[in-house]
C-alpha cells in the first residue's frame, strides 16, 4: 500500500518547477528584461534563468510522461514510511511555531522530551536529563561563552534574561 506513485510526484514537482520558472519570467519582465540607456535592466539576467528553469521543468515533465507506463507501480513513499516521516515533520512544525512565543530553550526541551517519550518510549529520568541538558548546554555555549543571543520567551524574562 503506497501513499503516492513516484511518477505523480515526479510530474507534480516538474510542473511546480515550470511554474517557478514562469513566476521568475513574469517578475523579470515586470522590472524590465531588456536594455536600458545605462545597460541591462534588473530583469535581464533573471529572465534568462526563468526561461531555462521553465524549460527544464517541462523537459522533466515530458520525460516522465514519455515513460509514464514504464514508471507505473514505483511507490514514492509507503504508508509506513510516510507515517515515520510525519512523526518527525509534525512535531518539528509545532516546534518551529512555538519558537516565536516561548523561546528556543523551552521549545527545545519540550520538543526533545516529547519526542523521546512518544517515539523512544523512554522513562522520565533519561528524558528529563537529555531534554534539559541540551538547552542548558546551548545556553552556556551561546549566551554565556560566545555572547550570541538566542530567541527567548516569558520564562527566560521571568528568570531575568
Amino acid at each position: 500500500m503506497t501513499a503516492a506513485a513516484t511518477r505523480w510526484v515526479e510530474l507534480v514537482v516538474a510542473l511546480l518547477i515550470t511554474v517557478a520558472g514562469v513566476v521568475v519570467l513574469g517578475d523579470s519582465y515586470r522590472v524590465g528584461a531588456s536594455w536600458d540607456a545605462d545597460g541591462p535592466q534588473a530583469g535581464y539576467f533573471p529572465h534568462i534563468i526563468g526561461w531555462i528553469l521553465a524549460g527544464a521543468g517541462l523537459w522533466i515533465a515530458g520525460k516522465t510522461l514519455l515513460k509514464w507506463r514504464a514508471l507505473a507501480g514505483k511507490p514514492f513513499v509507503s504508508w509506513v514510511e510516510l507515517k515515520l516521516v510525519l512523526t518527525m515533520l509534525v512535531p518539528t512544525l509545532v516546534y518551529v511555531a512555538l519558537l516565536a512565543f516561548i523561546g528556543i530553550y523551552l521549545a527545545s526541551a519540550l520538543y526533545i522530551g516529547s519526542f523521546m517519550i512518544w517515539q523512544g518510549k523512554y522513562r522520565w529520568l533519561p528524558t528529563v536529563l537529555v531534554s534539559l541538558g541540551v538547552p542548558v548546554a546551548l545556553f552556556l555555549l551561546f549566551e554565556v561563552w560566545f555572547l550570541v543571543p538566542l530567541p527567548k520567551g516569558p520564562l527566560e524574562h521571568w528568570l531575568g534574561y
Partner: protein, 501 residues
C-alpha cells in the same frame, strides 16, 4: 622557491598555541558531524559559522576547515562499521568496507580508509601549495568575461559530468540562481521577486538553504528508513595498523590514480561524491582481483577514500584563487570569508598572505592531526552511533534550528529552513542534485555581476565570450562539457554502426 618560504611563514601562523587548539576542536567536531546522520560537512560548518564571527579570520578558517577534514574522516567510520554512509562521498566505501568489517577485518578497513584519506588530502594540499599561487597570479589578469566563463565552466561541468539526469541538474541549478536573484538588486536598486513581502527583501541566505536541504532533509530520509544502528566493533589494534600500513605501499598505482581523479573532480567542481564512485569503478576495472570487489577488497576502500579526500581538499583551490567553490562545503567556507570581510580571489594571495598561507599550512597539520585522532578514537565514535535515533534526531533538529537562527538572528530563517528541509527530502527522493542548487545560490550574484559587466563592455553582444583566446577556449570547453552526455552517445552510436560495405 617563493612558495616554500611563504608556506614556512604559514606554519608559523598555524603553529601558534591558540590555532593548534582550534585545529583540535575543529577535527573533533568534524568527526562528530561526519558520524552523526543529518549533520555533514556543509551544514555542520554552516551551523558553526556564526560562532566564528567574533574570532580572528585566520583562527576561524583554520577551525572551520578542520571541521571539514574531520567530517571527511568521520564519514568512513559509519560506512565501514555500520554500513551507513555518514556522508554521500562515503557511499562507495561501504561496498568493500562493510564486508571487511563483517569478516572481522574492521581494523584493517578503518586503517586503510583513514590512511588513504590522508594520502589523498596530502596530495591535494601539495597541489594547492604549488598550483594556487600560479592560478592566482594568472587570474589577476581576469576581466568580467573571463570570470563569467569560469563560472559557466563550473556549472556546465555539473550538468555534463554529474550522475543525475541533466534536466534535473539544470532545474536545481536554475532554482538556485532564481533564489539568489530574490531581493534588492544592488545595481539598479530594483526589488526583484519580493512580491511585497518584507521578509524577502534580504533575499535567501544560502546558509539557511544548506542547513535545511542537507540537515533536515537528511533527517527526514533517515527517519523514513526507520534506522536501527547495528554496528561492528571498531577496536583498532596498533599491530593491525602497522601491518596494514606495510601493505598499502603496494597499492600505490591505485592510490595515485585515485589522487588524480580526486583532484581533477575537486578543481572542476564534480565534487567528492562522483570522484569516489569514479575512482572505485576505475579500481575495479583495472585491478587483477576486480571480480572480487564488493566482497571485502582493501583496494575497494583505498580507491574511493583517497579520491573523496583529494577532491574535498582540492575543492578549496578554485575557492581561494578564483572565488569559485568546488563543493558545497567550500561554498560555505567562501561565505565565511565574505562575512569576515575577506574577498576570495586572486587578490587574497597578494593582500592577505598571512591568512592564505596560514590556511594552507593548517591543511597539512590538520590532516596529520586528523589521522592520529581518528585512529586512536574510533571506538568512541562508534559508541556515539549506538545512541538511539529517537534521541539523536530531535537534538540534531534543535542544533539545525539554532544554527539557522544565528545566521541573521531571524526567526523567519528557521521557518525557511524547515521549508528547505521538505524540499531537500523530496528532491533527494526524486534524485535532484542539491550541490548545484547551493552553488548557484552562492554564486548567483557574482555570476550575474560578471555577466552584466561583460554585456556592458560589448553593448549586449555575446561575441565578447569569444573575444580573445583565453575566454574563447574556456567558453568552448564549457559548452563541450555541457553537451558531453549527448556527444558521448553520438560517438558510441557512430562506433556501433555497421561497417560500410
Amino acid at each position: 622557491m617563493e612558495e616554500i618560504s611563504s608556506l614556512l611563514q604559514g606554519f608559523a601562523v598555524a603553529l601558534s598555541y591558540k590555532n593548534l587548539l582550534f585545529m583540535l576542536i575543529g577535527i573533533l567536531l568534524g568527526v562528530l558531524i561526519g558520524v552523526l546522520p543529518g549533520l555533514g560537512g556543509a551544514n555542520g560548518v554552516a551551523i558553526l559559522l556564526p560562532l566564528t564571527f567574533t574570532m580572528p579570520p585566520t583562527s576561524a578558517i583554520i577551525m572551520l576547515s578542520c571541521i571539514y577534514w574531520g567530517a571527511l574522516f568521520g564519514g568512513a567510520i559509519t560506512s565501514i562499521l555500520f554500513n551507513i554512509p555518514g556522508e554521500p562521498w562515503s557511499v562507495a566505501t561501504t561496498f568493500d568496507g562493510y564486508p571487511m568489517a563483517q569478516q572481522g577485518r574492521a581494523g584493517e578497513a578503518l586503517t586503510a580508509a583513514f590512511t588513504s584519506s590522508f594520502v589523498g588530502a596530502l596530495f591535494a594540499v601539495v597541489l594547492i601549495t604549488f598550483l594556487a599561487p600560479l592560478v592566482a597570479r594568472f587570474a589577476l589578469k581576469f576581466g568580467p568575461p573571463e570570470y563569467f566563463s569560469i563560472q559557466l565552466l563550473t556549472f556546465c561541468s555539473f550538468i555534463g559530468m554529474g550522475r543525475e539526469a541533466p534536466g534535473k541538474t539544470i532545474a536545481a541549478m536554475m532554482l538556485g540562481f532564481a533564489l539568489a536573484a530574490v531581493g534588492l538588486d544592488t545595481v539598479t536598486g530594483t526589488l526583484r521577486m519580493t512580491f511585497g513581502r518584507t521578509e524577502l527583501l534580504q533575499g535567501f541566505d544560502f546558509l539557511i538553504a544548506v542547513i535545511g536541504l542537507f540537515g533536515l532533509g537528511e533527517i527526514f530520509l533517515t527517519m523514513e528508513e526507520g534506522l536501527s544502528f547495528q554496528g561492528k566493533s571498531g577496536k583498532i589494534d596498533p599491530k593491525i595498523v602497522l601491518r596494514t600500513w606495510a601493505r598499502l605501499p603496494k597499492l600505490w598505482v591505485t592510490s595515485l590514480r585515485s589522487c588524480l581523479i580526486g583532484c581533477w573532480m575537486g578543481i572542476t567542481p564534480g565534487g567528492a561524491t562522483p570522484a569516489s564512485f569514479m575512482s572505485y569503478g576505475m579500481a575495479r576495472r583495472f585491478s587483477k582481483s576486480g571480480n572480487k570487489f564488493g566482497e571485502g577488497q582493501i583496494e575497494g576502500v583505498v580507491a574511493p577514500e583517497t579520491a573523496a579526500h583529494a577532491a574535498g581538499t582540492s575543492a578549496l583551490l578554485p575557492m581561494l584563487t578564483l572565488g569559485i567553490p568546488g563543493s558545497p562545503t567550500a561554498a560555505v567556507l567562501l561565505g565565511g570569508l565574505l562575512i569576515w570581510g575577506l574577498q576570495p580571489g586572486p587578490l587574497l594571495f597578494v593582500e592577505k598572505k598571512d591568512f592564505v598561507w596560514g590556511l594552507i599550512a593548517s591543511m597539512y597539520l590538520g590532516n596529520i592531526a586528523g589521522l592520529l585522532i581518528v585512529l586512536t578514537t574510533v571506538p568512541w565514535w562508534a559508541a556515539i552511533l549506538r545512541i538511539p535515533f529517537s534521541i539523536i534526531a530531535p537534538v540534531i533538529v534543535v542544533i539545525c534550528a539554532v544554527g539557522a537562527y544565528t545566521v541573521h538572528n531571524n526567526l523567519f530563517d528557521v521557518v525557511m529552513m524547515l521549508v528547505f528541509g521538505v524540499v531537500g527530502y523530496v528532491f533527494k527522493k526524486l534524485k535532484y542534485p542539491l550541490a548545484p542548487l547551493v552553488l548557484a545560490l552562492v554564486l548567483g550574484d557574482m555570476a550575474e555581476t560578471a555577466f552584466r559587466q561583460s554585456m556592458l563592455l560589448s553593448a549586449g553582444s555575446l561575441s565578447i565570450f569569444w573575444s580573445n583566446g583565453l575566454v574563447g577556449s574556456i567558453v568552448t570547453l564549457a559548452l563541450l562539457i555541457l553537451s558531453w552526455p549527448l556527444l558521448s552517445r553520438l560517438i558510441a552510436g557512430w562506433r556501433d554502426r555497421p561497417a560500410p560495405a
